[in-house]
Subunit: 483 residues, 2 copies
């Protein structure tokens, strides 16, 4: 059986595979500063050439360049594979293992890991995926699917030009059957999380500023003893905010805010029922994504039951007062002044079928209607949601492969976070599996980021990670037939 031969090939070439991972991690490519970006994109393009892609193009944008590449396997099915080659900045002073040396060392219970900025997010797992592809080609001469590769170098700065890259190749990319990205999706216990969507996002400031006409001082803050005669923009912001959300019930009061919210399908509801069962085996609320830090949920809002918490997390919009700034923000009795402006930062996660522009139009109309025409909406970022049907072939093919591997999988109808995946799912119209594969790491956006190469058995090591990529590709390439 050809998959077994590929697995054997992987086992025999792990040292070389580790070398390629270390090579990629050693190359800085920091999108915030631009450090190593050009060398980073050249290196990834070279990887696609090494693979045997007939087309490899570096795509210039208004920001950092992207890549378009195509591997024609002559296969019946085609995927779009997304990659990011950029990483977060890293301050070497905070790292035990220097961020761009790809040091090999143990990590927690695991005997062997590679350390470095991007080792986990996403260079280690992505280079493992390329290692898997090379292994398949070495054994089979080609791949079980055709692959469009599309890469960006700005994921860590909110993907401002990813849609621009995808649009240039839109007509070809839309021909694919699915978007599928494989890396390492295991948590520390070895469980895999699979997300069939994510939420739209609008991040904006509401600004109440002095107008020189009786609402606050002009030029700079003035002494608070003058507040009665100079007026203030500060209370206007509090008033405006209170029209948006009922402070007592927490209900969002923007007219029509939820009118476009789509109910979950029966298939998605069934996923939630299964999720509840799976999460009930542990500390239920700790099972939600993005809850790995010190903050915890002792009790759900509004007395939500477990299943309702899952439903709200998955299928309801959020409207979060992220912070307020302006005036004096230090502690204690220090400053007495009327501020010139007060700014609230709000982020809002949108679900199908809410759209950012429509939301912003409703927000503006709401503020105007309530007498706050002067409150400025300053939008920082906005993108829409993504959603894939759990009955789509790419989802079923992934789940079949996981089942055959014996992996425990949590399937979420949607993640509560947001990202540029809407480009694949909505702009290109492709069913999308965001994160797939076995594999584990740590230090996401933090010092001493690592990717596990040899594990204690609780999670996959590098060989198992690459084999899982192989199996998922074969499963989808042949679905619904045997693979």
């Amino acid at each position: 059986m050809s998959r077994e031969a590929v697995h054997d090939h992987i086992d025999r070439h792990i040292p070389e595979h580790i070398d390629r991972i270390r090579e990629y991690v050693r190359q800085p490519s920091v999108s915030q500063t631009g450090e190593g970006i050009r060398e980073g994109v050249e290196l990834l393009a070279q990887y696609y050439r090494d693979l045997g892609c007939a087309e490899v193009e570096i795509v210039e944008t208004d920001g950092h360049p992207g890549i378009f590449a195509y591997y024609d396997a002559g296969a019946p099915r085609t995927i779009v594979n997304y990659a990011m080659y950029d990483v977060q900045p890293a301050d070497p002073a905070e790292w035990t293992h220097p961020p761009f040396e790809a040091t090999i060392a143990p990590a927690g219970p695991h005997p062997k890991a590679v350390y470095g900025r991007g080792a986990w997010f996403t260079k280690g797992p992505y280079r493992a995926f390329l290692n898997a592809l090379e292994s398949i080609i070495a054994v089979e001469g080609t791949l079980p699917v055709n692959i469009y590769f599309i890469a960006e170098g700005e994921e860590e700065i909110a993907s401002p030009h990813f849609a621009q890259i995808a649009e240039r190749y839109r007509d070809r990319l839309r021909q694919a059957d699915a978007a599928l990205t494989l890396g390492g999706a295991q948590d520390a216990s070895g469980r895999v999380s699979m997300f069939l969507g994510n939420k739209g996002f609008v991040y904006f400031d509401l600004v109440s500023a002095a107008d020189g006409k009786g609402h606050g001082p002009v030029g700079a803050a003035v002494h608070d003893s003058l507040q009665g005669i100079v007026g203030t923009p500060a209370w206007r912001l509090a008033g405006a905010l209170s029209t948006l959300v009922d402070g007592r019930s927490g209900e969002v009061l923007i007219e029509g805010f939820t009118e476009k919210v789509r109910s979950l399908s029966d298939a998605d509801e069934a996923l939630l029922v299964k999720l509840r069962e799976q999460l009930s085996t542990g500390d239920f609320s700790r099972g939600f994504p993005n809850l790995g830090g010190e903050g915890r949920i002792d009790s759900f809002a509004d007395g939500l039951s477990d299943i309702d918490a899952l439903r709200r997390y998955t299928a309801a919009p959020t409207f979060n007062l992220n912070g307020v700034r302006g005036g004096y923000t230090g502690p204690g009795t220090v400053n007495f002044a009327v501020p010139t402006e007060l700014i609230a930062t709000i982020d809002c996660r949108l679900v199908p079928d809410m759209e950012p522009e429509e939301f912003l139009t409703k927000l503006r109309a709401h503020l105007d209607r309530h007498g706050y025409q002067d409150i400025e909406i300053r939008t920082h970022s906005e993108y829409t949601w993504a959603k894939t049907d759990p009955d789509d072939d790419v989802v079923r093919a992934c789940l079949r492969a996981y089942q055959d591997m014996g992996a425990d999988v949590l399937v979420w109808p949607s993640k509560g976070t947001s990202g540029a995946w809407w480009v694949l799912n909505r702009l290109l119209g492709l069913p999308t599996v965001k994160e797939g594969g076995l594999g584990h790491g740590g230090g996401f956006h933090a010092p001493d980021e690592y990717f596990v190469l040899e594990s204690d058995g609780s999670v996959a090591g590098l060989a198992e990670c690459e084999k899982s990529h192989v199996d998922i590709l074969y499963s989808f390439g042949n679905y619904p037939n045997e693979y």
Copy 2:
């Protein structure tokens, strides 16, 4: 005439008077850090002994010590004279003239000034006052009034123990006829401002914190994607604030907030009419106290007329949203989190007959009534107002002296700021003149603070400053008789 002999004495002893000022300025006495506090209080106590006070006591408190001293002149009238011997911290790196060297140098148009921390607020003018007293005693053998001296070393940290000091000598101090403090009250144009009161003050935080019961994350902030299921304390703060002030009209909505506000007397109203005339000769709104910085008032709140702006500044409470903190307070798209708490800092200036405790009781009741029992009121400082009748002898005596000096005087029924003067005015029950005398300086609470010794003629130099103190004391000592 004896006053003339005293004036002559002052003119002949200016070099020695400057030496005493420099000695006092050179002595650090920083209440925030404690630096030089003990030496500072000893030096001031020695000054009172040098003057010939029969009683001089250093008064220990729970904080920095104060001083009680008494000079018995055998005069019919007695004043309480307030002093502070502490100063703000000074970072020498920010100063051209080192803060504790009392350098003599020009200042703007003025040929001679003394520089140093406290040179202007208040060591220079206060030592000038003591020089004036010494000159009177040198010529006359005694003073025209008996004087209780009461000093604190914590003015710059909000006078937490001044009432404690005054209470220890309360029975004796209450016997005085007035509280009178003389320094230098001239602005850059030479005009004197006289304030017949100040406002009460409450400075507090309103805290909305996660409760572990559905209002926000416990332990630390969590990712904003979880907002819907973790709840948030942030919108509760906005809601609570909006019940306090109407965001559109700016009206304070706390039940009974203004019910105790006393109308201005006819005499105070007459002062406002005169003030309007005087301020109309320049940029009207720049004539308000504490408006010397970059911030300006282009238009009064609520379309107030000039006289109404004066009335509101003088006789209406303020309710200022000083700042809000919590959550992410930096610019741009960086953080996505549900904060564990949000804090609003509010300061409120109270007028006769509002009292801090009563205000806080009303505020608590208001929040409770509106469903915000969980919002904590965290009070940082509170003190009450002071108010002196413009027809009181001490006021008339001051005004007579100013008139005889040819000084242009703005008489304010009250200043919009607050201070520990309630101790003299309310605890001791004394008519109080807060700031009197000719003299000018700059750099209040800033680097290169200075006190003018020789002027360009627009303001008083040191000799004129001391002479104005002499004249005011004689005027009050003999009032309503000639002096």
